[in-house]
């Protein structure tokens, strides 16, 4: 069964058509990348899947049902424009997110506890959000997205504005979710990320879908039509080097203050 299905979806803003007759099928359990330049219609598409805005035409089916309010509770959504209440304590904020997703206090704290520890968030739980570094705030936002243990995760440009440590963190999230058999849909305009993380992609350009399928299918289809890159000697990735250097330095792991 498909986790998400779009059929003939159209969204207009006045005279401008933001999404034009979009058909899309995302199977359960895959990591799907919605790629394309800024203004291609990625955010509008994700918002429609999330039932924040409604399509002018077409149907959206999620987990076999027409998208509606009840289904919102089964999806975790991290918008590109993400924020927190600055004056609220971190723990109150997380419990507020849990509450509007219908998760009670105890369940929420129990579920988040391992994450809070692995993210070094515990000392910050009773601080006001405005006292946290940007990186710390992003961690809180991620926790807010998964507090209700969603079956589907929709992330709009999840890597935008993240420092290297948090990029690794988000990738860990992806791995963990995949291991649990959950569906992850994210948008990005950085093609390398999509290439490395996704099993399937869809390409949006000027409100239209130009391409979709599994990464393998697409690569096979275009094998003879685009020039291949020159063979490269395998070399260590900078990210791995960074982690190694930090570990070998014998210094403490980077703190939130340093990543501010």
């Amino acid at each position: 069964m498909n986790a998400i299905e779009l059929q003939g979806v159209v969204k207009r803003f006045g005279k401008f058509t933001a999404v034009d007759r979009l058909d899309l099928a995302i199977p359960k359990g895959v990591t799907f990348g919605l790629i394309g330049p800024n203004g291609a219609g990625k955010t509008t598409t994700l918002r429609m899947i999330m039932n924040i805005t409604k399509p002018d035409e077409g149907t959206i089916t999620v987990l076999g049902q027409p998208m509606g309010e009840a289904l919102q509770q089964r999806i975790g959504y991290l918008p590109e424009e993400r924020g927190l209440y600055r004056k609220m304590k971190v723990v109150d904020q997380l419990l507020f997110f849990a509450a509007i997703k219908g998760v009670d206090r105890e369940t929420a704290l129990k579920r988040l506890s391992p994450w809070i520890d692995s993210m070094d968030l515990r000392p910050w739980l009773h601080k006001k959000t405005e006292e946290l570094s940007k990186g710390m705030q992003q961690k809180v936002q991620f926790l807010g997205t998964i507090v209700h243990d969603p079956e589907i995760l929709i992330l709009d440009e999840p890597f935008a504005g993240l420092d290297p440590i948090n990029v690794i963190l988000v990738k860990d999230f992806f791995t963990e979710f995949k291991r649990q058999g959950k569906t992850v849909v994210f948008s990005t305009h950085v093609l390398e990320q999509a290439e490395r993380l996704c099993e399937r992609i869809g390409l949006l350009y000027r409100s239209k879908k130009l391409l979709d399928g599994t990464m393998r299918e697409i690569k096979n289809a275009y094998r003879d039509r685009v020039p291949l890159p020159p063979p490269v000697e395998p070399e260590p990735e900078l990210e791995k080097i960074f982690i190694k250097v930090v570990q070998e330095s014998g210094l403490a792991a980077p703190t939130a203050e340093e990543l501010r």
């Binding site: 924040i52 919102q72 918008p79 424009e81 209440y85 509450a99 509007i100």
Partner: protein
């Protein structure tokens, strides 16, 4: 949906109530109100006549009479009731200056110098005209000031001259005093069973209504503004999109309005409690206030009801007008349009109060923007449920507006959102 609404209401309420500003305002506003009343009382005392006023009595008959009137009567012309009042107005001193028609010019010259040097506050010249037509000269350094004192002196002089004129006609002035009666309207509602309360303390009732009226007026501005800031904060923080991914925008807006409104009601409850405490017999006796003021329950109920009605209307407008914009300044420009109606109500309340069933009051209470306030003045509950319409239209504008960033939308665009179903 109801559960989510409650969660949003709770968050908004706690966010307001947990600020220091809320508690400062809650206790400072009544304190300032009391301070203003106190200053008024003090200032009223300063209205009493004081200073040295020379009296040049060319007729030779009016001076003693004038001084006697001043001694026996308070500043309002009524007979003084107690010693305290007479001690107060004794700060005005009349000085007799004898003169004849021949010596008058020289005396004038000297008195003018005294007034200019502020040895005298003013001087009066009473001549034959005073007895015939009631005209008298009053000369002071400035003709603009002391108008209350001038009225008082004119009152005493009128009575003094009247008595002298009666004497000329062969009537004993004591008869005038004995015969004179001051009419007083006993105002009550036309009912077969008259209650003692109605009509009593009319001045006090007006004062209470006016104070409550301006409390509603101030609250609508203050809490409406809080709604606007809340909407803009969520929008500028970009948190709104996270929330509308699990809460309907209209639920979020309604929750915000209700939550902030609850904070407003809590403030009102505290004020009401304070007011009731202050007017309990024990406290009243303690403060030595004689004519114990009492808030009629119906007034209190109307007060809360009209705050709620007005708040819903204006808060939803504030939410709708804030949602399309990114800064408070941009939103304020538009919100001034409905707000001017509120100001209209605040500037016309007196007429509505004087004639609660008159045309003006009727018209203003029909205009939805002014009705909560004017209706409160009329205390006749027939509020059209327009705030409900306002709420739904505001919801549509809000829903679209909160996700719009960047370019400032035009008024036609906002109206288009209001018409859109989605």
């Amino acid at each position: 949906m109801n559960r989510k609404l409650l969660i949003v209401v709770r968050r908004e309420f706690l966010q307001q109530v947990r600020t220091k500003g809320f508690w400062i305002a809650t206790f400072l506003i009544p304190a300032i109100g009391l301070a203003i009343v106190g200053v008024q009382i003090l200032l009223n005392r300063s209205l009493d006549a004081k200073g040295r006023v020379a009296v040049v009595d060319v007729t030779g008959r009016l001076y003693d009479s004038l001084v006697a009137e001043h001694r026996t009567r308070g500043s309002d012309g009524e007979k003084k009731k107690d010693e305290k009042a007479s001690a107060r107005s004794d700060s005005l001193e009349f000085i007799r200056v004898d003169a004849t028609a021949e010596t008058l010019p020289g005396i004038r010259k000297k008195l003018n110098a005294d007034v200019q040097a502020e040895r005298l506050k003013a001087y009066l010249v009473l001549g034959p005209g005073t007895l015939e037509k009631g005209t008298a000269e009053y000369r002071a350094k400035s003709v603009k000031s002391d108008f209350i004192m001038r009225e008082q002196i004119a009152g005493w002089l009128s009575r003094a001259a009247t008595k002298e004129r009666l004497r000329d006609k062969g009537v004993d002035p004591a008869l005038y005093e004995a015969a004179r009666v001051r009419a007083d309207l006993d105002v009550r509602e036309a009912k077969d069973v008259e209650t003692g309360e109605t009509g009593k303390n009319v001045g006090y009732n007006i004062a209470v209504s006016v104070i409550l009226f301006f409390l509603i007026y101030g609250s609508l501005f203050a809490w409406g503004g809080a709604v606007m800031r809340g909407v803009l904060e969520e929008k500028n923080n970009r948190i709104v999109e996270v929330i509308v991914s699990s809460v309907r925008p209209t639920t979020l807006m309604l929750g915000k309005i209700l939550g902030i409104g609850c904070a407003g009601l809590l403030q009102y409850a505290i004020w009401t409690t304070l007011a009731v405490l202050v007017s309990t017999p024990a406290v009243v006796a303690l403060m030595g206030v004689v004519d114990a003021p009492r808030l009629p329950v119906s007034t209190l109920v109307a007060f809360v009801v009209f705050f709620i009605l007005g708040y819903f209307l204006y808060a939803s407008l504030y939410a709708a007008f804030a949602a399309p914009f990114n800064t408070e300044a941009e939103a304020q420009q538009l919100i001034m349009i409905p707000m001017s109606f509120l100001i209209l109500a605040a500037t016309t309340w007196f007429f509505a109060f004087n004639d609660p069933d008159g045309k003006l009051a009727l018209i203003l209470s029909m205009i939805p923007f002014t009705s909560p306030l004017i209706m409160f003045m009329r205390i006749t509950v027939q509020m059209p449920p327009l705030w409900q319409i306002a709420l739904s239209v505001a919801g549509r504008v809000y829903r679209v507006g909160i996700l719009m960033y960047g370019k400032k939308p035009t008024l036609p665009e906002i109206f288009r959102w209001a018409r859109q179903a989605d």
